[in-house]
Subunit: 222 residues, 2 copies
DNA sequence: CGGGATCCGTTACGATACTG
DNA sequence: CAGTATCGTAACGGATCCCG
């Protein structure tokens, strides 16, 4: 009785937060699906095209698993447009610090980004946002507007936190250019050497804040 | 010429820090191997017994991959004891924030820990350490001594960081009991309800620091 | 006994084709 | 557009065997 559609998924079977987390989000593609959904709700097809190489049946299976774990939910759109989108639940948003930590770990390993092959959102989240230092941001207020390869995005530093406003009033800093050049900046390239592929505009104070909060290398540790 | 032992490992092929990170540490078992090595050097057999269920050939393969990526290295022991241990390289230690983020994500999902089935090191790292709040630790100095199921471990909060001294002078706080009870504390159980499975000894100030730095829930975000 | 290597059945994944 | 179905291949899991 009751469909025991068996969670036969292989579990590590360990009483450890890390192992339990990996039981839920450790499968191939899962974290990349969550990365995309962290940018906002996506339709099935949006996800597919954002994840070149994923088989459609696998995407379906992963989404079902994530729904079962209540990390992702379907939302109905009333509009004439496509009906259903996938979105992170509040529980699901808790994966974001994991994504940031992974981005920070992987950033130095990315080889020679090429203009046009880096997606702006990946440059901002998988690169720039990963450098955010909460400890250095305690007394900083900074609104950054990105214009990368024609896409516009915003980040805002406020009270030691990094948030993504849909849009904002006047930016303190505007970073304009190619997504690849932003990645290079995050990897330690000199700002001057990136002109004109990347241009940063803003007050001297805003530039100091940028340096302090994002670009100064820092090593947190246990 | 040259053995092209083909990195045939499937790559996500994305210019994104997260994707690149997962290319290296996203395979099954890899992060749990790194978790164990984050506690210190281990021999092959130690790793095997710490990871019940892993096939020996798979452990070999993972270790080779991690060596190739320079996240793990072999070290020779001169002693009469077993010859070689595996250890994290400085590069490899950069995975630690990822482990902490995962632990934090997974902690609330762990079901009813049972005395004797939780390893002390997992309770401390996969549980307690995951709750560390750098922002709340800025002006705190705190040495904690754990005595869990007979194992002794130390953590030290210093200048907004969490570090693991081999040992320390006098502890400000001693937490003694079962590893399972510590996990329950981390999951929000009341300290009083855990006596006598867990006993916390220390000054009123040290207890306040414990509460402030570890036990107060906090939500960081992008 | 520590540190693997080999073999093999099973599962998960990747690619493509098909459908409401 | 949003999946389902099918199928070949690669990865994993478990056991056994080997060597210093």
């Amino acid at each position: 009785m009751g469909d025991v559609t068996a969670r036969t998924r292989k579990s590590y079977e360990q009483y450890c937060g890390i192992a339990v987390a990996l039981d839920r989000i450790g499968d191939r593609w899962t974290l990349l699906i969550l990365r995309e959904l962290s940018f906002g709700p996506h339709r099935f097809t949006d996800l597919r095209s954002a994840l070149p190489g994923i088989a459609s049946n696998l995407l379906t299976e992963r989404l079902r698993d994530l729904e079962e774990y209540e990390l992702v939910e379907q939302r109905e759109l009333p509009a004439p447009a496509a009906r259903v989108v996938y979105a992170l639940t509040p529980q699901g948003r808790r994966i974001i610090p994991v994504l940031r930590a992974l981005a920070r770990f992987g950033l130095p390993m990315m080889a020679d980004p090429v203009d046009g092959e880096v997606k702006p959102r990946h440059a901002i989240f998988g690169g720039f946002g990963a450098l955010f230092e909460p400890l250095a941001a305690l007394d900083v207020e900074l609104r950054i507007r990105f214009l990368l390869d024609g896409e516009e995005h915003w980040l805002e530093v406020s009270h030691g936190r990094l948030v993504r406003p849909d849009t904002s009033a006047q930016p303190d800093l505007t970073i304009e250019g190619t997504a690849a050049a932003l990645v290079e900046l995050c990897q330690g390239a000199d700002e001057a050497s990136l002109v004109p592929r990347l241009r940063i505009a803003g007050s001297a104070q805003a530039r100091r804040d940028l340096e302090q909060v994002f670009l100064a290398t820092a090593t947190t540790l246990v």
